[in-house]
């Protein structure tokens, strides 16, 4: 019996090497991707899987609309976008976390937390690339604050007095350190997730269940290999 075709959304970037490694180990990626190729669609004849190469932040969108049946997306992206998709497995790699960070020089003012800071200062402005995560965080703590959405280089905001604190995604913490920022609160951790379209998960269940099992088995076999791939 021939295998039902599956469309799989992948993103180049941070998650790409460990994702490719895992898919190879699981036997659902048999043809090599060109390292610096510009092709956006690859078809793996042997496993009958079509791979779409898209932006990391777009993987949940392709999956939500059903343009892709499956995908690998960071939990950070999923948290920020609140898409209606199935999160099937925690793949473990690509670990990073959302943190609240403040300028090292002003750390003293945050000694008793954000509420303490607010008790002494009128305002709390939060610069971030992740407005939904930031808003959710402020709301869950009951903190009044203004969210300032930036597209990158968030670290700049406190330096030029655009914001008192930042909410950003950190993996090693190096960027924070280089900009004299210190994490004061951890909001949530995030790793790569294996996600599925909610309809495809049910209509292509047999095939997807087999892929889940293959990925789980590959993860158990090669935890070490994947680890070394992340660095």
């Amino acid at each position: 019996m021939s295998l039902e075709q599956i469309t799989f959304a992948l993103s180049k970037g941070r998650l790409f090497p460990p994702a490719v490694h895992l898919l190879k180990e699981a036997g659902i990626l048999t043809t090599p991707f060109e390292e610096k190729g510009r092709r956006l669609v690859y078809t793996d004849q042997e496993s009958n899987v079509r791979y779409l190469i898209c932006r990391a932040a777009d993987v949940p969108t392709f999956v939500e609309y059903g343009a892709a049946d499956l995908g690998i997306a960071g939990k950070d992206v999923i948290l920020e976008q609140d898409k209606d998709i199935c999160e099937l497995l925690d793949l473990g790699f690509g670990a990073c976390k959302f943190v609240v960070a403040v300028p090292a020089a002003k750390l003293g003012e945050f000694q008793d937390g954000l509420w303490g800071y607010l008790a002494r200062h009128g305002q709390l402005r939060v610069a971030t690339k992740f407005p939904r995560v930031a808003e959710e965080f402020l709301r869950s703590r009951g903190l009044p604050g203004e969210i300032i959405k930036l597209s990158g280089n968030i670290e700049l905001a406190p330096l030029v007095d655009l914001a008192e604190v930042i909410i950003d995604l950190v993996s090693t913490g190096r960027t924070l350190k280089e900009n004299n920022l210190v994490a004061v609160t951890e909001i949530a951790g995030a790793t790569a997730r294996f996600v599925a379209n909610r309809v495809a998960y049910r209509l292509k269940y047999t095939r997807i269940a087999a892929i889940i099992d293959a990925i789980k088995a590959a993860m158990e076999r090669s935890t070490k290999d994947v680890q070394s791939c992340i660095e």
């Binding site: 609309y65 609140d82 209606d84 999160e87 909610r198 049910r202 209509l203």
Partner: protein, 389 residues
């Protein structure tokens, strides 16, 4: 910005051009005829109602999606976010004395502040409500009617997934999870976040057998045989009844001839707190969101003071049209006849005579020169062009 003659439209609403509007009307007509053939009578409710009347009965997740406004006396109004609640409201307040069961159907526009794929903010639903019948026969009738409706609409390849909210709840209680854990677990499943679900189960204090069985639950999907996999877990009486109900519904669906189209998935929840028993959704390949959904909501009418079991479903009209668009190209209607002529009275008379025979007829109302009118009509592909002298 260059003025291209476009007028701004809010997000989530849309125009339908003639071909699409015609397909929609035609689809709705066929669906209503089908519902009527099962004894469901069409009802119409107001587009907006008092917020305070509907609010206590609405699904918890619905509140942030409501369109509210204030009328000239300062009262809060809400645009209907579904048809089930208004129907429950009027049955509870006006039709209490009628013999049960009651069967109602509708086609209506619905308003929700949605941001997800495939969801407009104003969209159309066709659906049925079966009120006052608590048994598996009622559940099965509604599910099979959903199957019939999808088939009738032309969606050949579809699948209905059926679950039961009490089975899941009972399995969680039976395994020994505390109430807060159960709520978190249900929320995770409702968000289809199986990772959080597994972490919750893995870190809870329940037995290993229970952990294994519950942890794997979201990955189970199939025929009635999968129920046996969790039956051992269920000591909770409500959940046991749920399993019995699922088996019964499964059997009746086979009599309707829909067994091959139905799958069981115990993690299907369809929101929290609204449904009380059987729930289901319908899918088709190539459309990334459900075409229809429904289930049993025995607690809803009681919120209007009338304790009455109920079940029903709604189909997304635009979603079905999207599923069909892949198969056929829409066509705009062309009339059967076009009549022009110098004697307008005679033109009208001829047109009326033809319309009485069931033909669609367009007449010239622009006073076009004859050649121009004929050229225009023939360009549009109108099969018969009459010139009345």
């Amino acid at each position: 910005m260059e003025n291209s003659g476009m007028v701004l439209m809010p997000g989530g609403v849309r125009d339908m051009l003639p071909a699409e509007a015609r397909r929609k009307r035609e689809l709705e007509g066929r669906l209503l005829t089908l519902f009527e053939s099962y004894g469901y009578q069409e009802v119409v409710t107001p587009t907006f109602e008092f917020y305070e009347v509907l609010e206590p009965a609405l699904d918890r997740g619905m509140h942030e999606q409501l369109y509210r406004f204030i009328d000239d006396r300062g009262r809060i109004m809400v645009l209907r976010p579904d048809m089930t609640t208004p129907i429950a409201r009027f049955v509870s307040t006006r039709l209490r004395d009628r013999a049960l069961p009651m069967r109602f159907c509708y086609v209506a526009n619905i308003f929700r502040r949605e941001n997800h794929a495939g969801r407009q903010r104003e969209f159309y639903q066709a659906g049925v409500e079966l009120l006052g019948a608590a048994g598996a026969e009622a559940d099965a009738e509604v599910i099979s009617l959903a199957c019939e409706a999808l088939r009738l609409a032309g969606v050949e390849n579809f699948q209905i997934t059926v679950g039961h909210v009490e089975v899941l709840g009972g399995a969680l209680t039976g395994a020994g999870l505390a109430e807060t854990e159960r709520d978190k677990a249900r929320l995770a499943l409702s968000n289809k976040d199986f990772v959080t679900w597994q972490n919750l189960i893995a870190t809870s204090r329940i037995s290993r057998e229970h952990k294994e069985a519950l942890g794997g639950l979201p990955y189970l999907h199939g025929g009635i045989e999968m129920l046996s996999r969790i039956e051992g877990l269920i000591s909770h009486p409500g959940a046991q009844e749920g399993v019995v109900r699922l088996r019964k519904v499964w059997e009746i669906l086979a009599s309707y001839g829909f067994r091959d189209q139905v799958c069981i998935d115990l993690t299907l929840l369809r929101g929290l707190g609204y449904y009380t028993g059987i729930v289901f959704e319908g899918y088709t390949p190539g459309v990334g969101y459900p075409l229809c959904g429904g289930g049993r909501y025995d607690g809803l009418l009681a919120k209007f003071g009338f304790d009455c079991p109920a079940t029903g479903f709604a189909l997304g009209i635009e979603r079905i049209m999207a599923a069909l668009e892949k198969e056929e190209l829409p066509a705009e209607q062309v009339p059967d006849y076009y009549i022009t002529g110098s004697d307008h009275m005679e033109v009208i008379r001829r047109a009326r005579a033809l319309r009485e025979t069931g033909c669609s007829v367009e007449i010239d109302v622009s006073g076009l020169p004859r050649e121009k009118a004929i050229a225009c009509a023939s360009r549009r592909g109108i099969p018969h062009i009459l010139v009345v002298e």
